[in-house]
């Protein structure tokens, strides 16, 4: 039987992991849906622009997330 603080730590870690995974999964789904939706919405220039914009948002998010000051 684990002590209470160990169980709390494990639960907190689990929640953090799930949160990180959901953010990453959302990014993947946006890219997957985005590349198809962009084609529906317009020509290939629109598609490429949408994907390009998504890349920059993704990079800004990915880098920004890791630049947060430590808790």
């Amino acid at each position: 039987m684990q002590p209470q603080h160990a169980r709390n730590d494990a639960a907190r870690l689990r929640a953090t992991n799930v949160r990180t995974a959901l953010v990453l999964l959302t990014i993947a789904l946006v890219f997957f849906g985005g590349v198809i939706a962009a084609r529906f919405m317009g020509g290939w220039t629109t598609g490429i622009s949408v994907v390009g914009f998504a890349v920059f948002v993704f990079l800004a998010f990915a880098i920004g997330r890791n630049l947060r000051s430590p808790k």
Partner: protein
């Protein structure tokens, strides 16, 4: 920074004797959630697919040994080139890199396992069905996909059922890669040992962290593209079908938006392995650790903005050609930083040349050559002459085979004592290195000459003037293929315990966390995290 001062006593407590037992039998492998088991399965799977893809490569080279049609029909030849590419990229190299990540990332950062252990099992077990789909597509009516691994329409819209199986296989392998990437990123960001800041991580973890971000960004794009192909084939849409108002060139843009970062997805983990090996055998910390991290990130970012250099001959505005040409050349800068840092690490180091170091040095030499021919191909006017010739084939095999594969072999020999508890046979490993090096160059260096002379790729027959170098290339390919049986022999010997017992730290210069646990690494490690100072 390669040198990680850490509390070795604390690290030693990370191995619990009472958890040393593990399940046995077939169900151990089917249901395992242990990162070491899953890493082992990834590595065996990738080696199996490497052999399958290798046999396809040798079929191609057997046909090209002489001009004329001797061994296979042209349709089958095209199926071989397509499946060889798909299997080697998605079935061999990428799973090998994930296998290394599974085995080593928790050990390198002091984590007890991957963040999502069950998803890890699922990521792996998606791969065998995908591989079966790809290989068995050879036996369906019309045969396997034969439009090249790039799956360009309109050919892919017109082909038979084999193409559907290939598309489905790509979907499954893409899903597996995305799940693996989510797991790796989450593990690295959330489960590092206390005191191990991002800038103290071994470089292998950094290169995999960046690779995983790349995968999450580009695999869904490929999945979207092949989904559109599928709906074009069966559901009456016209995304890429010109007959219905679609745009086949759009597929090329989308594919290469995935395809170029894919090159770095394949090579960055190899960079990471080399960055672990060279400091160990030079007995010096990695030169310019921070610049290596920033160079890796730089390569990854640039990889998103160079895709159209694969499409210069398709036609695009001059401004576009210039942009993609110069952006491609720019990648040489961070790549050069890495090459010079590895050389600077070796400079005045107390080097020894065991097999891992030999493969790392071989990697440096051959990858640099592949990089140089990449620069040649980046120049648009030259690319327009060399596009779809054997020069391109030579270039990307120098990057992918001599780059990734040599680094992976180096990694296998480097960590084999930790994985099996037995030292590998150095003599066999050295023979493996030298035969691989020589036969690789015999196989692929002449292909530069063939390409410069104008021999197109993806053809089963060719003009008489190309005969001599094709014969040399085929001999080299068979020699290279046979050489790979040596690594199998060396690994099996270690698994059977036929060799000297490996100490916890078999390499004098190794100073990362994996060397603080016994060899072979216990089934459960770092349940109490080590403290890194």
């Amino acid at each position: 920074m390669s040198s990680i001062p850490h509390d070795r006593a604390a690290a030693g407590h990370g191995t619990h004797d009472d958890h040393a037992h593990h399940p046995t039998g077939l169900m151990r492998w089917v249901t395992t959630t242990n990162h070491k088991d899953i890493g082992t399965m990834y590595l065996w799977f990738s080696f199996t697919m490497f052999m399958v893809g290798g046999v396809m490569a040798l079929t191609i080279r057997a046909e090209l040994f002489q001009p004329g049609l001797q061994v296979v029909h042209p349709e089958f030849f095209n199926q071989m080139t397509t499946l060889h590419g798909l299997i080697m990229v998605f079935g061999a190299i990428m799973p090998a890199a994930v296998g290394f990540a599974n085995w080593m990332i928790p050990l390198l950062i002091g984590a007890p396992d991957m963040a999502f252990a069950r998803m890890n099992n699922w990521s792996f077990w998606l791969l065998p069905p995908a591989a079966i789909l790809l290989v068995t597509s050879l036996f369906v009516p019309g045969g396997a996909a034969s439009a090249g691994w790039t799956l360009y329409p309109p050919l892919t819209i017109q082909q038979g059922m084999g193409m559907d199986l290939a598309i489905f296989a790509v979907h499954i392998m893409g899903a597996s890669s995305i799940m693996g990437s989510i797991n790796i990123i989450t593990t690295i960001l959330n489960m590092r040992a206390p005191g191990m800041t991002l800038m103290k991580m071994p470089l292998f973890c950094w290169t995999w962290l960046i690779t995983a971000y790349l995968l999450i960004a580009v695999m869904p794009v490929l999945a979207g593209a092949v989904t559109m192909l599928l709906t074009d084939r069966h559901f009456g849409t016209s995304f890429f079908n010109a007959a219905g108002g679609g745009d086949p060139v759009l597929f090329q843009h989308i594919f290469w938006f995935f395809g170029h970062p894919e090159v770095y997805i394949i090579i960055l983990p190899a960079f990471g392995i080399v960055s672990q090996i060279i400091p160990t055998f030079a007995r010096k910390p990695l030169f310019g650790y921070a610049s290596m991290v920033y160079a890796t990130a730089g390569i990854a970012i640039l990889s998103f903005i160079v895709w159209a250099h694969h499409m210069f001959t398709v036609g695009m505005p001059v401004a576009g050609v210039l942009f993609f040409m110069y952006a491609t050349m720019l990648i040489a800068v961070p790549t050069g930083v890495k090459i010079f840092n590895w050389l600077a690490t070796m400079w005045r180091g107390a080097m020894t040349f065991e097999a891992p170091m030999m493969f790392a040095v071989g990697f440096l030499f051959l990858f640099t050559m592949g990089g140089f021919t990449g620069l040649v191909l980046a120049i648009a006017p030259i690319d327009m002459q060399l596009h779809d010739t054997y020069y391109v084939v030579a270039h990307f095999h120098y990057v992918m085979v001599a780059g990734s594969l040599f680094a992976f072999f180096g990694g296998v020999y480097y960590w084999l004592p930790k994985w099996t508890g037995t030292m590998y046979d150095e003599r066999i490993a050295q023979i493996h290195f030298w035969t691989s090096l020589v036969f690789f160059n015999v196989a692929f260096f002449p292909q530069h000459f063939l390409g410069l002379a104008g021999m197109p790729r993806r053809i089963p027959d060719y003009a008489q003037q190309f005969a001599d170098w094709n014969m040399v290339s085929s001999i080299g390919a068979f020699g290279f293929g046979l050489s790979q049986l040596l690594v199998l022999y060396a690994v099996v010997k270690c698994i059977r315990g036929d060799g000297a017992k490996a100490p916890a730290k078999p390499w004098e210069g190794g100073d990362t966390l994996e060397w603080t646990v016994p060899s072979p690494a216990p089934y459960h490690t770092f349940e109490t995290p080590p403290v890194v100072r």
